[in-house]
């Protein structure tokens, strides 16, 4: 079976969504010489679906029968010759469902229930999915959405996120953002990384998606930059009006709703980086303009999002109050410790349109477009501590898809499109010019503004992709060319600067180290792009064996001409600032499915392949923009004054900032191997076991090339200290400039692709369906993730210590448990629907996931390397005299793992497990001959699972203490144990959410 036969291609609705619930087949009595097939088609919400075109082909492909499902969703094929059949369910606006191996026996009626997901409106990229996807979707029985195997079965890796989203079910695939190891923000779908659709400054966090209609994004709510925010879905209460005339289906769908969640300012961890959704209304129209040849769909949607900015941990409030009071004419009462969580609103307008035209039999054209606008609502801009991060955003896209079938066994598809996305981040509030962000450091509280760079980012991309498909015998061959040209524009103003106050005690005097910026980055434009050739063949040498093999060759083009080098740096170091074009790379894929015999309950799946990522344009933007236009000024002094130092030891240091891309820089590469075994135990019950291994290399890592390669000393924690340590009244810090290897330069950020990670996991899953609306899916995955690419909490590669040959490198320590390692993952999902005319249904999803790991550290001002306060990750050990004092803290945070040198291993501690529970209850309030009224209640995040950034500082360096220097190199720092170790600093998830709505189906 090929999956994407001509019948599937015929489906005008290229917007084929989500899941097909596993078909259930059973046998009933029929005539003795022939059999029959009967079934019901339902929508994802369980409602019968009318107007569905049901195609039945016999196993040889010789005959084909088509019926249309009746108003109650039922269909029937009587008098069928015994044998194997294939069934295709299609309807405009729904993803087709292909069911293979439907066995008809004499005298029996096979029963089958299929479920088609109510799709988003037709949106451009989805076209690519059915063209490539149907084959690998067939035969899948686990989960309601695309499983990992299905996703891996995508013949071409590197789909933009927008390609993948529509293939996600609301409950099947798990979706997480921002956590792809070392690769900056990107998306994980069931653990499989997919790159964002655009510059990370433009997305692929929720910003990018917010401007999509809800239907398209399926209400994705994932905080931008959150390491692991799972996507939770479920449509809002909506009103559907559908008219069926013959085979023409007109639909008017109106949606509206209000989502609220508890939102208390008293909760110190209540610091959602994202939005709580507010009111939302939308209208969708779709139907035929000219029957069978011209269809349209259009929708518009308005939303207001209540958004909370990162608040502060309660323990840090005092410092902030002092800071507030340092601002002239501050509006706060002295000693006011009440720090309400600042909120704001985003207004989002989004819309789309689509026109499908069949000018001639066998030829289809689809023109699609979408637009989205986002503007900040009113913000309280009077708070300099938390200067408002203003955002304006827009998205626009237009695409044209042409599909021509050449006879019954060949098709050509050409896609061309243009997309534009623009984001403008800015800070408001008084004092911004002077102070910029205030950081109480390491790694700790980030107050004010957004961790992302400010500025305006715009991306315009043009893509062109001709593809072909050829069916010949037991081969189904596909291939094509993909080409994308991207034009990026980056304008990043230099903020006032950053003040670093290491501890509460230190900051009580409002003194600290500071970093401010001189000069302005010019607005830069650069071009990047990639092109690829691919070919894939699905070969079915026997009915019980299918082998899919593919090969892709990809070229990526980097903006080498736009990089302006620094002659001074080149003279000093001999390093070139030039960007090299990556070599063309090949990525083979192989996937197989095998049953020992035609009727065997066993099924073996195995796959291996190489996936190639791309160089993140956001990282490229830094390389292009940071070419010496900005100078960093480092010094020490009182907050808000950018004071000059009092003597030569504390004199300001000025240095040019550069960002370089490493030699032979290459995008990430993932090699994966998957082996799965499933067995149908009894009808409706299936067990699956799966082993997976993925090894990723060429992950980007960042280090400071200009950090002095020789250490100044080692503190009692075993950390290497670089640069001269200076005790400046209230804080210990590095003498400005003394940690610079080459004078005149500040941080020289080197982006190099020498990181790697591995992920190995074993999964056991059990699925049960009774065919009457009850289902249960349970899976448990144990995994181990290791890498050498630490991330910041914002998902960017963390600055590493240098890698000079002399010292400072600690690769053995870096190689260890990944920041993303969450070994246990249990997922239980169940649904029960009552029988009867006025019924009800209850669905629940429970997820248990290991808490995220973190590495114990010390909070100080001895590493102030980048825009952020985060120091390079370094191993520490507990001084013997403090062991008893910290033992309870370590136990509280499940800390374990000491290396042979007595130091904590990387990510030796772990936050508590995350329990997540979502419920949906639907109750039919009433029904008539032509109408049904349904009430739906969604209770999301009932357990209030909250992803947080823990305070990893086990020790705090108290700058008011005494610094002892013991020859030859031991620095005894004044340490204090941090009682807040392991406590949440910032929460990253919204609280519980409740959605209530009514649905009237007429």
């Amino acid at each position: 079976m090929t999956g994407t036969g001509p019948a599937a291609c015929l489906a005008l609705a290229a917007l084929l969504l989500l899941s097909a619930a596993p078909p259930r087949s059973g046998l009933e009595a029929q005539s003795t010489s022939t059999g029959a097939l009967a079934g019901t088609v339902r929508a994802a919400d369980g409602e019968p679906l009318d107007g569905v075109e049901v195609t039945l082909r016999d196993g040889t492909g010789g005959s084909e029968r088509v019926v249309t499902a009746s108003r109650d969703g039922s269909f029937r094929f009587p008098f069928l010759a015994p044998g194997g059949y294939e069934l295709v369910l299609e309807r405009i606006g729904f993803i087709p469902l292909v069911v293979q191996d439907v066995e008809i026996r004499p005298g029996m009626t096979a029963r089958l229930e299929g479920s088609l997901r109510s799709a988003s409106p037709p949106i451009t990229e989805v076209d690519r999915v059915p063209f490539a996807l149907l084959g690998s979707m067939s035969g899948e029985t686990t989960g309601e959405g695309l499983t990992r195997a299905e996703l891996e079965g995508l013949p071409q890796s590197g789909f933009p996120l927008v390609d993948i989203l529509p293939t996600l079910s609301t409950a099947g695939s798990r979706f997480s953002m921002g956590g792809a190891s070392g690769y900056g923000p990107s998306a994980l779908v069931d653990g499989i990384p997919f790159r964002g659709a655009s510059n990370p400054h433009l997305g692929p966090g929720h910003l990018h998606l917010l401007s999509f209609p809800t239907w398209f994004a399926q209400e994705v709510q994932h905080p931008r930059g959150v390491p692991d925010a799972e996507w939770r879905g479920g449509p809002l209460p909506s009103l559907h009006l559908t008219s069926v005339r013959g085979t023409s289906v007109f639909q008017v769908e109106a949606r509206g709703g209000l989502v609220t969640g508890p939102f208390t300012s008293a909760d110190p961890g209540m610091a959602s980086a994202d939005a709580l959704q507010g009111p939302e209304v939308g209208v969708l129209l779709r139907g035929p303009i000219r029957r069978d040849t011209l269809h349209f769909a259009a929708g518009v949607e308005l939303r207001r999002l209540l958004r909370a900015r990162p608040a502060v941990a309660a323990g840090e409030a005092e410092a902030l109050v002092r800071f507030r009071e340092s601002i002239p004419d501050h509006p706060w009462a002295p000693g006011d410790l009440d720090l309400p969580t600042p909120t704001g609103e985003w207004d989002v307008i989004s819309g789309f349109g689509r026109l499908d035209w069949r000018p001639a039999e066998g030829h289809d054209l689809a023109l699609q477009g979408r637009i989205g606008l986002l503007r900040d609502g009113p913000w309280d801009t009077s708070d300099p501590v938390l200067p408002s991060a203003r955002l304006e955003a827009s998205d626009a896209a237009v695409a044209l898809t042409s599909m021509s079938r050449l006879g019954e066994s060949a098709a050509i598809e050409v896609r061309v499109g243009l997309e534009n996305a623009r984001r403008e981040f800015a800070l408001g509030g008084i004092g911004n010019e002077v102070i910029g962000r205030v950081l109480v450091t390491e790694p700790g509280l980030v107050v004010g503004g957004d961790p992302q760079a400010l500025g305006t980012f715009e991306q315009t991309s043009f893509y062109f992709s001709p593809n072909f498909q050829l069916e010949a015998g037991d081969h189904s061959l596909r291939g094509g060319i993909q080409g994308v040209v991207e034009l990026h524009s980056v304008a990043t103003p230099t903020p006032g600067g950053t003040h670093l106050m290491p501890t509460i005690q230190n900051s009580s005097d409002l003194r600290g180290a500071y970093l401010r910026w001189e000069g302005a980055r010019p607005e830069r434009e650069f071009r990047a792009g990639w092109s690829a050739f691919y070919v894939r063949d699905r070969w079915t040498p026997a009915p019980n064996l299918a082998i899919t093999a593919g090969m892709r060759m990809e070229f990526q083009s980097l903006p080498e001409d736009e990089v302006v080098g620094s002659a001074g740096w080149g003279l000093l170091t001999g390093l070139s600032h030039e960007m090299e074009q990556p070599e063309p790379r090949f990525s083979p894929r192989l996937h197989t499915e095998w049953r020992p015999s035609a009727g065997s309950p066993w099924l073996v799946r195995a796959g291996a392949g190489v996936e190639l990522g791309r160089v993140d344009p956001g990282l490229l933007g830094e390389i292009v923009a940071d070419t010496g236009f900005v100078r960093a000024v480092r010094g020490m002094g009182p907050l808000g004054e950018w004071a000059t130092g009092s003597g030569p030891e504390t004199a300001e240091y000025r240095g040019t900032r550069l960002s370089l891309i490493g030699p032979g820089f290459s995008p990430p590469r993932v090699r994966s191997l998957t082996v799965g075994l499933s067995r149908a135990l009894v009808p409706g019950v299936e067990l699956e076991a799966r082993l997976e291994h993925r090894a990723t290399d060429y992950l980007p890592r960042v280090r400071d090339l200009n950090r002095v390669p020789l250490r100044y000393g080692v503190d009692q924690l075993g950390r290497e200290i670089f640069g001269e340590v200076l005790l400046d009244e209230t804080h210990l810090t590095i003498r400005p400039g003394s940690d610079r290897r080459f004078q005149g330069f500040d941080v020289v950020s080197a982006l190099e692709s020498d990181g790697s990670s591995t992920w190995s996991g074993a999964t056991a899953a059990l699925q049960f369906t009774d065919g009457r609306g009850a289902s249960l899916y349970a899976s448990y995955t144990y995994s181990v993730a290791e890498d050498d690419t630490p991330l910041t909490p914002w998902g960017r590669p963390a600055f590493l210590h240098g890698r000079p040959s002399s010292s400072g490198d600690d690769p053995e320590w870096l190689q260890g448990r990944s920041d993303l390692d969450q070994p246990h993952h249990l997922l239980l999902r169940g649904r029960f629907r009552s029988d009867g005319r006025l019924g009800w249904s209850l669905g629940a999803t429970y997820s248990l996931r290991s808490g995220p790991p973190f590495t114990p550290s010390a909070r100080d001002a001895l590493g102030f390397e980048a825009f952020e306060s985060w120091s390079a990750p370094a191993p520490i050990r507990v001084p013997p005299e403090l062991e008893s004092e910290v033992s309870a803290l370590l136990a509280r945070s499940n800390c374990a793992g000491i290396d042979p040198d007595g130091r904590f291993e990387r990510n030796a501690c772990r936050m508590g497990a995350l329990h997540d529970l979502d419920l949906r209850f639907a109750l039919e309030l009433g029904a008539g001959v032509r109408w049904r009224l349904l009430a739906t209640v969604d209770a999301l995040n009932l357990l209030d699972a909250r992803h947080t950034i823990p305070d990893p500082a086990l020790f705090i360096v108290d700058g008011t203490g005494t610094l002892l220097e013991e020859p030859p190199e031991l620095l005894v720092l004044p340490l204090a144990v941090n009682p807040s170790f392991g406590e949440p600093l910032v929460g990253l998830r919204p609280g519980r959410m409740l959605r209530v709505g009514l649905s009237l189906r007429y």
Binding site: L590, W594, D697, V708, L710
Partner: protein
């Protein structure tokens, strides 16, 4: 047969899968990272900065056998230690690129030498290149009271205002003052200066006649070519203050003025004239070249003359007494002639 066919296909597939996993095992290597490759060197010179200009030049001497340590900026680790050769030159090779400091061995400098110049202070070592470095060390410049109160035998610089032109006093002596004290330097050569010029004299300290002086000095006029400042005003003293060090020790080597002293005796020998002058406090000797009388337009010296005398205090008699040494003719002036001898009573 269907099954065998599928099994053979499966076997082939398995082999392909394994092959696929094994291929591409070449991960990223060192070629993916920046390497500031190569090494650089430092070529330098250490010199005795006798002119204290901070740069090697005429009048300076090379500094052999000086131990110099090379440290990377921001680190306390010593990267290299070298000893200057006979020409004062040093060379350090195989340094990883970066910023370094060159520091002389403090024990080699001791208390008597100090660094006068490091050019550059921070040495940027570049791959494949030779960074120039010079290190100047010299004797310290001490305040005159410090010299006076210090120990003998130190080699130091004295810096102050010249109180007399070179050659005006016996023994090529030049007296200096820095506002806090005065110093007598002896044997000063190479110094062309006028009274009031700021000069720096290198010499070793020696106690002569109980008073610390700077001997064998090499002088340098720091105000050469510039407008001469007004000469320091002398301190008015009495004869007793001038004569007895114990009564006014702070006046050692100072420029003093005896406003009205009476000549009690005068003697001339080998071109030098010694006057014993007195005021009500006592007597003090005034010693000068006899030719100074012509400059002062004093034709005769008579007992009983009242003179105004300006001069430099110089110890005598093993430090028990001091004498006043006028420098130029204007240091002597007649206040009143000697009274006529008493007429014999008739």
């Amino acid at each position: 047969m269907m099954i065998p066919e599928s099994r053979s296909g499966l076997a082939a597939t398995t082999a392909l899968l394994l092959g696929m996993v094994l291929t591409g095992c070449d991960g990223p290597g060192s070629e993916q990272v920046f390497a500031i490759e190569g090494t650089g060197s430092i070529e330098g010179r250490a010199f005795l900065d006798l002119t204290r200009t901070g740069e090697f030049g005429e009048g300076d001497r090379v500094f052999p056998d000086l131990e110099v340590t090379i440290r990377m900026e921001g680190s306390r680790d010593i990267v290299a230690t070298v000893v200057t050769d006979a020409d004062g030159r040093l060379r350090v090779e195989n340094l990883v690129p970066g910023t370094y400091r060159g520091l002389p061995d403090p024990t080699a400098l001791g208390d008597s030498l100090e660094v006068t110049g490091m050019d550059p202070t921070l040495i940027a070592v570049r791959p494949g290149q030779e960074a120039a470095f010079s290190l100047g060390a010299s004797f310290p410049i001490l305040a005159l009271p410090t010299i006076m109160a210090g120990s003998e035998g130190r080699r130091v610089y004295a810096e102050g205002i010249a109180l007399n032109p070179p050659g005006s006093l016996d023994g090529d002596a030049v007296h200096l003052t820095d506002g806090m004290g005065s110093l007598r330097t002896l044997g000063v050569t190479g110094l062309g200066a006028r009274v009031g010029d700021r000069v720096r004299i290198l010499g070793h300290t020696q106690r002569i006649d109980g008073e610390m002086m700077l001997v064998a000095g090499q002088g340098r006029n720091l105000t050469a070519g510039q407008e001469t400042v007004e000469a320091p005003s002398p301190t008015s003293v009495t004869a007793a203050q001038a004569s007895f060090p114990g009564s006014a020790p702070e006046l050692a080597s100072a420029l003093v003025r005896l406003p009205e002293v009476t000549v009690e005796s005068a003697r001339t020998s080998f071109g030098r004239t010694t006057l014993s002058v007195a005021d009500p406090s006592g007597t003090v000797d005034v010693v000068f070249r006899t030719t100074l009388l012509f400059d002062a337009r004093i034709e005769t010296l008579e007992v009983g003359m009242v003179l105004a005398v300006t001069g430099l205090l110089v110890p005598t008699s093993g430090g028990e007494r001091r004498e006043v040494q006028p420098r130029i003719g204007s240091d002597l002036s007649v206040v009143s002639e000697a009274p006529p001898p008493d007429e014999p009573e008739d």
